[in-house]
């Protein structure tokens, strides 16, 4: 039961972030426009370059493929593709790739691998036998503690984090994670209820599923549907249709 509660907690963390994004979006009420690198987004001296844009004379130019958004005077690009960019305090799911005397190396799908030190484990671990807690191939749900040049440190010292027992991992583009969760978790809760499967979503795009074989398969298909149709309208209804009719 405790474990179940913890899972909810993680999802809730993410959904708060998602709803923050949503509120920003609705307050500014600006439409988003698809841009490619080198494209002029706006002209005139009224604007300032934000994320992934540069100013060239009086033009704001895109440096990345994505959706351009103008918030007050700041023009920024919201990426829609690319590898996961780790940030501090991201909740992620990773797979253990190596063990040494001081901790575990974890693959999290980003450009650099992460490290979980022994000291960041919440419970006592026998130093002579740390495989007991987690071994190569295990999935863990962790939080990014720090991002330094070339290394990422993880921690398990927070509610809901730990080794994921059983189940399996699937992977989607990290930029589509907010779609999979939906507004205030509506999408993920829908999939959970319909498939009777435990689902944990990491902000790096790794998703852990645990349930009956049939439920896992259905949940995976629904998530893949969300990934391919991430930008379409009425996505929750489409997924609901899919889950009920399948």
């Amino acid at each position: 039961m405790n474990e179940e509660e913890n899972k909810e907690e993680i999802i809730n963390n993410e959904t708060t972030e998602e709803s923050d994004n949503k509120s920003n979006e609705s307050s500014s009420n600006k439409e988003r426009k698809m841009v490619v690198p080198g494209e002029t987004i706006v002209q005139g001296d009224d604007y300032l370059p934000g994320d992934f844009t540069i100013k060239n004379k009086d033009e704001i130019v895109s440096q990345r493929y994505g959706l351009a958004e103008i918030n007050d005077r700041i023009v920024k690009i919201i990426p829609i593709s690319g590898v996961f960019e780790p940030r501090r305090s991201n909740n992620i799911i990773g797979r253990i790739t190596d063990i040494n005397f001081s901790g575990w190396s974890v693959e999290i799908g980003g450009p650099v691998s992460a490290f979980l030190p022994l000291s960041e484990c919440p419970r006592f671990i026998n130093k002579n036998n740390i495989e007991e807690f987690a071994t190569i191939g295990d999935a863990i749900n962790a939080k990014i503690w720090s991002v330094k040049r070339g290394s990422i440190d993880l921690t398990l010292k927070s509610r809901g984090l730990g080794v994921l027992e059983g189940g399996r991992l699937i992977k989607i583009t990290s930029h589509k994670v907010p779609r999979v969760i939906g507004r205030e978790g509506s999408m993920i809760n829908l999939i959970k209820d319909e498939t009777q499967t435990e689902i944990t979503v990491g902000q790096n795009g790794f998703i852990w599923l645990n349930g009956s074989a049939e439920g896992e398969r259905k949940a995976e298909e629904a998530i893949m549907l969300i990934e391919t149709e991430a930008s379409s309208e009425g996505l929750t209804d489409k997924v609901e249709d899919f889950l009920k009719n399948e």
Partner: protein, 239 residues
């Protein structure tokens, strides 16, 4: 026989029918297809990811590693798979052209792998490959200042023509064939790759630069439309 008309009936500055699409390889971080007439190229981009071997790592900037290859069945005489002198050279010029627009300082110690495959060859394969790679890089969310666009300009006999075919490349009458692949950036029109195979007087060379600017702008339009989700296929319905 002098060269007055193009064998496939195109205007001198006209491009071949274009096919362009992104996201054709779901496994890759970014991918694209670019076809000009019978020349078909696909490109897949993986990364940024940690660079191995570690001795090649640069803590100040990342690198772009290109691999150009022709599939064995892309030409009528089976192409031996694997790197050859020619494909290594093309990989090198492609990675140089792409490195000039990508913001390499954003991914220190890392590498972006770009794989280019030629499915079918009818001259201008390196240009099609660069066009596909440029779209694939953008599609992979790599930070880049602008796109690159490539076209092969030819001087066949005494005419300057755009986007030449194999048949034109082998034209041996009159002044003979000259093939000049150009690669330009999309905003500043900087030339980031230029090769020349044949002979051309300086005065005509300036003419060919003008032709390449025009042709590149046309191709750029296709690249942008494809990146914005359109599936372009001007070959549809034709054989």
């Amino acid at each position: 026989m002098t060269y007055t008309k193009r064998p496939d009936g195109r205007e001198m500055h006209e491009l071949r029918p274009i096919r362009a699409e992104v996201g054709i390889i779901p496994n890759a971080d970014g991918s694209a297809l670019f076809a000009s007439g019978k020349t078909v190229a696909i490109a897949a981009v993986y990364g940024p990811k940690i660079l191995h071997p570690a001795s090649m790592r640069n803590p100040e900037k990342g690198i772009i590693r290109c691999e150009y290859n022709m599939l064995p069945f892309s030409v009528s005489e089976r192409a031996r798979p694997g790197p050859s002198r020619r494909s290594k050279e093309i990989s090198k010029v492609t990675s140089n052209a792409l490195s000039s627009v990508v913001d390499l300082s954003r991914f220190p110690n890392s590498v972006v792998d770009v794989q280019i495959m030629i499915l079918q060859a009818d001259a201008g394969t390196r240009c099609a490959g660069i066009n596909a790679a440029s779209m694939a890089l953008a599609h992979a969310g790599i930070v880049m200042n602008e796109l690159v666009t490539s076209v092969s300009i030819g001087k066949i006999d005494d005419k300057i023509v755009a986007d030449i075919t194999k048949e034109e490349e082998d034209w041996e009458e009159g002044e003979g064939p000259t093939d000049i692949p150009f690669t330009m950036t999309s905003r500043k029109n900087d030339i980031v790759h230029l090769q020349l195979d044949g002979n051309i007087p300086t005065s005509r060379f300036k003419e060919s630069i003008d032709a390449s600017v025009k042709a590149c702008n046309k191709i750029l339009d296709y690249q942008i439309r494809a990146l914005k989700g359109e599936k372009i296929n001007e070959n549809e319905g034709k054989k």
